[in-house]
Amino acid sequence: MKNFAYSRVSSAEEAVDRSTRDHNALYIAGGTNLVDRLKAFLDEPNQLLDISRLEMKRIESTSNGGLKIGALVTNTDLANHTEVRRQYPMLSRAILSGASQQIRNMATVGGNLMQRTRCSYYYDTAFACNKRQPNTGCPAINGVNRTHAILGASESCVAVNPSDMSVALAALDAIVEVQGEQSQREISFADFHRLPGDTPNRDTHLEPGELITAVILPPLSFARSGVYLKLRDRASYAFALVSVAAVLDLSGEQIRNARIALGGVAHKPWRASEAEAFLQGKTANQSTFEQAADIALQDAQPLLYNGFKVDLSKRAIRRALAVSARGGGIA
C-alpha cells in the first residue's frame, strides 16, 4: 500500500472539517474493509483520519421506544445487545451471519454501511471497472458473474452490496444520522445506498466530507418475530449469494403488515415493497408466500451465470416468511 499521513481526530466536527478540506482524505475506524482496499491499491488516500476513539460507542433507548446506535459501536456489541436480541432479532442474526468473530470485533456500524462490493473485477486492478475508475467498462457483465446482481443493475455495473447488517436495517426502516460541514441531517435507510446507474463509483448518497454518527432504529411492534436467512457457498464466513430479512405482523391468520429485504441481489439492500403491499390483508399460508416471492422477483434480470439466484431468492423469501409466521427463530 502507498504511504499516507495519519492523524487522530478529537471530534466529529474536526473530522468533517479536515475531510471537507482534503477530498483525498479517508476516515478510518475498524478498517476491516479499508485496510484491505489499501493493500490492493483500490484506494490511495493522502491521509487517514482516525475516528476510532471518538465518543460514538453507545446504544441508547430513544424517547419513542426505538434505539440510537453510535456509529462506532462494534458489530459484536450491537449483535449482542440485550434489547437488539429481544426487539430486533433479525438485526442480531444478520450481523452474526456476517464475516467472522474477529472481524465483527473490529468492524463498526458506520463502517459496515460504507463497505464496498467484493466484485472480483473491482478488486483486481488488472481489469477495467467503472466503480474503481469511471468510464473504463464493466468486465463482469459478460464475465464470471455468478455472484452478481439480478435486480436494479445497469449497463455500467452489476456489482452487489456485501453487507448483511444493512439488509436488516433496510427492512427495519432505520435512519442514518450524518454530520456535514454545516449541519447534521438524517437519511432514511432506503435513500442511503444508491443504485449504480451510470455513476457506480458512488455507493451512497453521502456528500463529500459527511460522517455517519449514528443509526436510529424506530420502534416496530412486530419485529420480534423477524428472521434473517442467509444462503452462501459454505456454512459460515462467506458473503451471501442471497439473503432475506423478513417479518410478518399477524392477527390470527391474517397478515396486517410485512417487511421483506433482500441481500446479495443488488447494488443496495433491496426492499421488496410490492411484495409487502401484496401481503397486506392476505391469509398467511404457503400459497400467499409463493405469490409474494414471485412478485418480489418479477423484475429480475439475471446474467449468464447467476440465473439460479432468482429461484433461490424466491425459495428464501418463502422460507423466511413461513418461519416468521411461526414466531421467528432460526430460518
Binding site: R93, N105, I330
Partner: protein, 232 residues
C-alpha cells in the same frame, strides 16, 4: 526512550547500516573508482530511506505484559509490526487479507485479525499473542488441549486457532450469542456448547490440513466436555 526501546530501534536499522558500511569498506580496500561510486550510491539510498522515515510515528504497546515503544510508518499493519519490528513471529501471515485467521491476536482480550489493523491505531492498547499465553513452562490449557487432541498437522494456523479458541471461551462465559444459537434470548453455556456452535464460532480460522475434528475436540476438552477420540 528507555534502554529496551533503544535496543529495538537499533535492531531495526543495524542490518542496513552494517551492509552499507561493509560495502564502503570493501570498496575502499580492493576496488577501483567505479565500485566506490556504487557503494556511495548505496549509502545515498540509505539516507533517502531515512528521510522518508520522517513519516514515522512513535507508539507504545503493551505486548504480552511488556511495554514496547516502536517507530513505524502509518501503513504498517500490526501483524508486520509484531513479526518484522518486534521479532514476534508466532502470529502468522497466511492470506494477509483477513480471510484465514492465522494472524489472530487478542487486543484488550478480544480476538482480532492483526493483518487488517494499522499498528499506529493500536497505540496504548494491550495485546496478547501466542507467545504470551503460556505461564513459563506451563502451557495454557487451550495449548495443552490442542496437543492432547491432535488439533493441528503442519501447525501454521495453530497460533491463530489457539488465540481464537481462548477468546471463544471468554465470549461464551460473557453470554455472547452466535448465528447458530437457537434462541437469542437464552445464552449458551460452555459445558453444553454444541459442536455446531464451536464450528460456527471458529469459522474465522481456516486449517489447510483440515485438522478441524481435532480442533473441535480440543475446545470440547477445555469446556469440560468429553471429546470423541480422534480415531472415531
Amino acid at each position: 526512550m528507555n534502554e529496551e526501546d533503544k535496543k529495538l530501534s537499533i535492531k531495526q536499522k543495524s542490518r542496513r547500516i552494517f551492509l552499507g558500511r561493509s560495502l564502503t569498506a570493501a570498496g575502499a580496500a580492493i576496488a577501483g573508482p567505479s565500485m566506490i561510486q556504487a557503494s556511495q550510491e548505496y549509502t545515498d539510498q540509505e539516507s533517502a530511506m531515512a528521510s522518508s522515515a520522517t513519516g514515522e510515528t512513535t507508539l507504545q504497546l503493551n505486548i504480552n505484559g511488556q511495554s514496547q515503544t516502536l517507530s513505524i510508518e502509518p501503513r504498517v499493519t500490526l501483524l508486520d509490526a509484531l513479526r518484522e519490528t518486534l521479532g514476534l513471529t508466532g502470529s502468522k501471515k497466511g492470506c494477509d487479507h483477513g480471510q484465514c485467521g492465522a494472524c489472530t491476536v487478542l487486543i484488550d482480550n478480544q480476538r482480532v485479525y492483526s493483518c487488517l489493523l494499522l499498528a499506529v491505531m493500536q497505540d496504548g492498547k494491550t495485546i496478547a499473542t501466542i507467545e504470551g499465553l503460556a505461564n513459563g513452562d506451563n502451557l495454557h490449557p487451550v495449548q495443552t488441549a490442542f496437543i492432547d487432541n491432535d488439533g493441528f498437522q503442519c501447525g501454521y494456523c495453530t497460533p491463530g486457532q489457539i488465540c481464537a479458541s481462548v477468546a471463544l471461551l471468554d465470549e461464551v462465559n460473557n453470554g455472547a450469542v452466535s448465528y447458530v444459537t437457537p434462541d437469542l434470548n437464552s445464552t449458551p453455556q460452555l459445558a453444553s456448547l454444541s459442536e455446531t456452535e464451536i464450528k460456527e464460532r471458529l469459522s474465522g480460522n481456516l486449517c489447510r490440513c483440515s485438522a478441524y475434528n481435532g480442533i473441535v475436540a480440543a475446545v470440547q476438552q477445555v469446556t469440560g466436555q468429553t471429546p470423541l477420540s480422534p480415531a472415531n
